[in-house]
C-alpha cells in the first residue's frame, strides 16, 4: 500500500516543484501513472521509493513512513521491499545474467546471499525463459531478454511494491506484452502493488486504475535543464 499526503517537493529554490495533496494506492493494486513529460511522474516514483525525500508531507509505503527514515534505513527498506524497474534496464555490463539478478544481495548488507537465494534466482530466470543464459554476458542478450533480467533482479527479494519507470519504453510490441505479463503475474502471485509510469496508452486497459498527473498534482513549469519524465 502506498499513501502520500500533503507532499511538497522542489529541486532548489527556483527549480521544479511538485505538490501532491493526497494519493493512495491500495495493496495489490495495479496502477498506471501517465502524464506529459516534465509533469513529475519519475520524481514522484523516486519519492515513493525513498530515493529522494520530500520537503514536506508524508510518504507511507507498506506501512513504513519513508519520509521519517534516514538515508541508510530508506536504502535498506528499498532493497528489501521495493522492486525497481527502469526504462534502460540498467544492467551491469561486467556481470553475467545470474550475477545481475543477484545484485541486490551483493550491494546491501541487510540481505544475505545464500544457496536458496541463488536457487530462487535460477527459478525466476527459468520462469522468464532465460534459464539457459545464466552465465551469458548481458550485452549479448536481446533487449527483451535484458529487460527480463532486470525484472528478475527487481523481484528477487520478493518486494511488496514494484515501481516501474517506463519499463516497456524501449521494447518492441511483443516484448512489451511479455514484460507486462511477467510484472502482472508476479503482482498477482505475491499480491504486490504495481505502479508503472508509462506514455504508452495502448497498455492502459490492462491496469486497474490510471492516474493522470495533470489531475493529480500541480507542478510548476520545469526548467529546461531538469530532465524528468
Amino acid at each position: 500500500m502506498i499513501r502520500i499526503e500533503d507532499l511538497d517537493f522542489s529541486y532548489g529554490r527556483d527549480g521544479f516543484r511538485l505538490t501532491v495533496p493526497k494519493l493512495e494506492v491500495a495493496a495489490g493494486e495495479k496502477v498506471a501513472w501517465i502524464g506529459p513529460s516534465g509533469s513529475g511522474k519519475t520524481t514522484l516514483l523516486n519519492l515513493t521509493a525513498g530515493i529522494v525525500s520530500p520537503d514536506h508531507g508524508r510518504i507511507v509505503v507498506s506501512g513504513e513512513e519513508l519520509s521519517a527514515l534516514g538515508d541508510a534505513r530508506r536504502r535498506d527498506f528499498r532493497v528489501r521491499r521495493i522492486g525497481m524497474v527502469f526504462q534502460e534496464f540498467e544492467l551491469l555490463d561486467y556481470l553475467d545474467v545470474l550475477d545481475n539478478i543477484l545484485l541486490p544481495y551483493r550491494i546491501n548488507d541487510s540481505l544475505t546471499l545464500g544457496p536458496e537465494v541463488i536457487e530462487r534466482a535460477r527459478a525466476l530466470a527459468e520462469g522468464v525463459e532465460i534459464g539457459d543464459k545464466l552465465h551469458r554476458d548481458v550485452q549479448k542478450l536481446s533487449r527483451g531478454e535484458q529487460q527480463r533480467v532486470a525484472l528478475c533482479r527487481a523481484v528477487l527479494t520478493g518486494p511488496d511494491v514494484i515501481l516501474a519507470d517506463e519499463p516497456t519504453g524501449n521494447l518492441d510490441p511483443s516484448n512489451k506484452e511479455r514484460v507486462l505479463d511477467i510484472l502482472f503475474r508476479y503482482a498477482d502471485e505475491h499480491e504486490a502493488t504495481l505502479v508503472m509510469v508509462t506514455h504508452d496508452r495502448d497498455l492502459l486497459p490492462r491496469f486497474e486504475r490510471v492516474l493522470d498527473f495533470d489531475e493529480l498534482c500541480t507542478p510548476a513549469p520545469a526548467p529546461a535543464q531538469e530532465a524528468r519524465a
Binding site: 530515493i51 536504502r75 525497481m84 548488507d109
Partner: protein, 392 residues
C-alpha cells in the same frame, strides 16, 4: 566486504586492459625505488666484501681505482704493467705472500685471468666439474663464463686477438678447458683462469714451434751462429699447446722482466701490512701499494651519492604517477557514475559504494605489491652483477 571484493574483481576482469595498465603503473612505482635500493645495497655489499677480503694490491703507479677494479673485478682498463721481479721483491721482504695477476686478454667477452694456484686457495674457489689447472695451455672457467661460452671440460676456447691487423701483435691461443668452478656469485664467475705462464704465451712472450735443430729442418734455417738459429717465415708456430708440442714451448728473455697487471699481497698480520705499505712510500718508487677497502669505500660513497639523486628523481616520478592514478580512479568513478546511481536506486548502501572503490584500489595494489616483490626478488638475485657492470 566479500561481495564488494567480488564485484570489484568482476569489474576488473571485465576491464582487463585498464586494470593491467593500473597494475603495471603501481608495480613500477613500487618496484623502482625498491629495486634501486636492493641493487645498490647488494652491489655495494659485494663490492665492499670483495675489497675487504683483499688486504693489499701492488701495481704500477697511476689510477688507484683502475688498479683496484682491474684486480678485484677484472673490469676497467688494464693498468700499466709491473714486472714479475716485484713478486720476488715482496716475497724477499717476508712481509706478505704475493700472488701475481695478469688481467689483459679475453675469451670473447670473458676476461682471461693469469695467476697461480695460490689465487684459487686465497679466494676459496672450488672446481665443480673437471680438475684444476695443471699444464700450460689449460684453462678453468668461472661458472658464468662457462655458461656464456657454452664450454665445459674437454672443450677448447680461443683467446681473442688484441689487434686484428697487427701481424707482429698478439695471436689467439687455443686453450683446453679442464674445469669449471663452482658458482660464487662474484667476479670470479665471469673469468677464464689460466696459469700466469699461459697468459705470457698469449702475450707473445713465449711460443712453441717446429724443432729447427732436427734433421729435415735445414730448409727453414737462414743462419746458425753462436747457438742462435735464425729461421725463415715457413716455420710453423703452434696455436695450441698439446701433449705432442708442449716441450717445444719456451720463453725468450728474463722472466723477472715479464709483465703483470698487479700483485695481490697477503700479509700475515697488521704489522707486516703496515711495514709493506711503508716500503712503497719512496719518491722514486715506480710501483704503488693500495688498500682496496679504502679505494672501494670512496667509490661506494660516490655510488651512494648518485643513488640519493636517483631516489629523489624516483620520488618525483612516483608523485607524478600517483597523481595520475588519482585522476585515473576519479575518471573511472565518473564513467561509472550511472552504474553507481543505479545501485543507489536499487538500495545500495553508501558503505558498499565506498567499499567497491576501496576494493578495486586494494586489488590493484595487492597485485602490484606481489608483482613488485617478485620483481625485486629477481632483481636481488640477478641485479648485482648487472649494476656492478654499470658501476664499474
Amino acid at each position: 566486504m566479500s561481495d564488494s571484493l567480488y564485484l570489484a574483481w568482476r569489474y576488473m576482469r571485465h576491464h582487463k586492459l585498464k586494470t593491467a595498465i593500473l597494475i603495471g603503473s603501481v608495480t613500477l612505482i613500487l618496484y623502482l625505488p625498491l629495486a634501486l635500493q636492493v641493487l645498490v645495497d647488494r652491489a655495494t655489499e659485494q663490492l665492499s666484501a670483495r675489497a675487504r677480503s683483499t688486504p693489499l694490491i701492488v701495481g704500477a703507479r697511476g689510477s688507484a681505482v683502475e688498479l683496484a677494479l682491474s684486480t678485484l673485478y677484472f673490469e676497467s682498463r688494464s693498468p700499466a704493467p709491473i714486472r714479475m721481479a716485484e713478486v720476488e721483491r715482496i716475497r724477499a721482504t717476508g712481509l706478505a705472500a704475493p700472488i701475481p695477476m695478469h688481467v689483459r686478454f679475453r675469451v670473447r667477452n670473458q676476461r682471461i685471468v693469469g695467476t697461480t694456484l695460490d689465487y684459487f686457495d686465497f679466494r676459496g674457489l672450488r672446481v665443480g666439474r673437471g680438475r684444476p689447472l695443471a699444464k700450460l695451455g689449460e684453462c678453468v672457467l668461472g661458472a658464468a663464463a662457462a655458461a656464456a661460452l657454452q664450454a665445459g671440460p674437454g672443450d677448447r676456447v680461443n683467446s681473442s686477438s688484441e689487434a686484428l691487423f697487427d701481424l707482429a701483435g698478439v695471436y689467439p691461443l687455443r686453450m683446453r678447458v679442464v674445469g669449471v668452478l663452482e658458482r660464487t656469485h662474484g667476479p670470479d664467475d665471469e673469468a677464464v683462469f689460466v696459469d700466469i705462464k699461459t697468459a705470457w704465451i698469449i702475450e707473445g712472450l713465449g711460443h712453441g714451434h717446429q724443432d729447427l735443430a732436427s734433421v729435415g729442418a735445414e730448409g727453414r734455417v737462414l743462419e746458425r751462429k753462436d747457438g742462435r738459429i735464425v729461421a725463415n717465415a715457413s716455420v710453423v708456430q703452434y696455436t695450441e699447446i698439446t701433449a705432442e708440442n708442449e716441450d717445444s714451448f719456451h720463453f725468450h728473455g728474463d722472466r723477472s722482466g715479464f709483465p703483470l697487471t698487479a700483485i695481490l699481497a697477503l700479509p700475515p698480520d697488521d704489522k707486516s701490512k703496515t711495514l709493506l705499505l711503508g716500503r712503497y712510500l719512496g719518491r722514486d718508487e715506480t710501483s704503488q701499494v693500495l688498500e682496496p677497502v679504502a679505494v672501494m669505500e670512496e667509490l661506494v660513497g660516490t655510488v651512494a651519492r648518485v643513488r640519493s639523486w636517483v631516489i629523489a628523481a624516483v620520488v618525483l616520478v612516483t608523485l607524478a604517477t600517483a597523481l595520475t592514478m588519482v585522476l585515473v580512479f576519479w575518471l573511472s568513478l565518473r564513467l561509472r557514475r550511472r552504474e553507481l546511481e543505479t545501485m543507489a536506486r536499487i538500495g545500495c548502501s553508501r558503505r558498499t559504494v565506498a567499499s567497491l572503490v576501496v576494493c578495486e584500489i586494494a586489488v590493484v595494489f595487492a597485485f602490484s605489491v606481489v608483482l613488485a616483490g617478485a620483481l625485486t626478488g629477481v632483481t636481488s638475485l640477478y641485479g648485482p652483477s648487472l649494476i656492478r657492470g654499470l658501476i664499474l
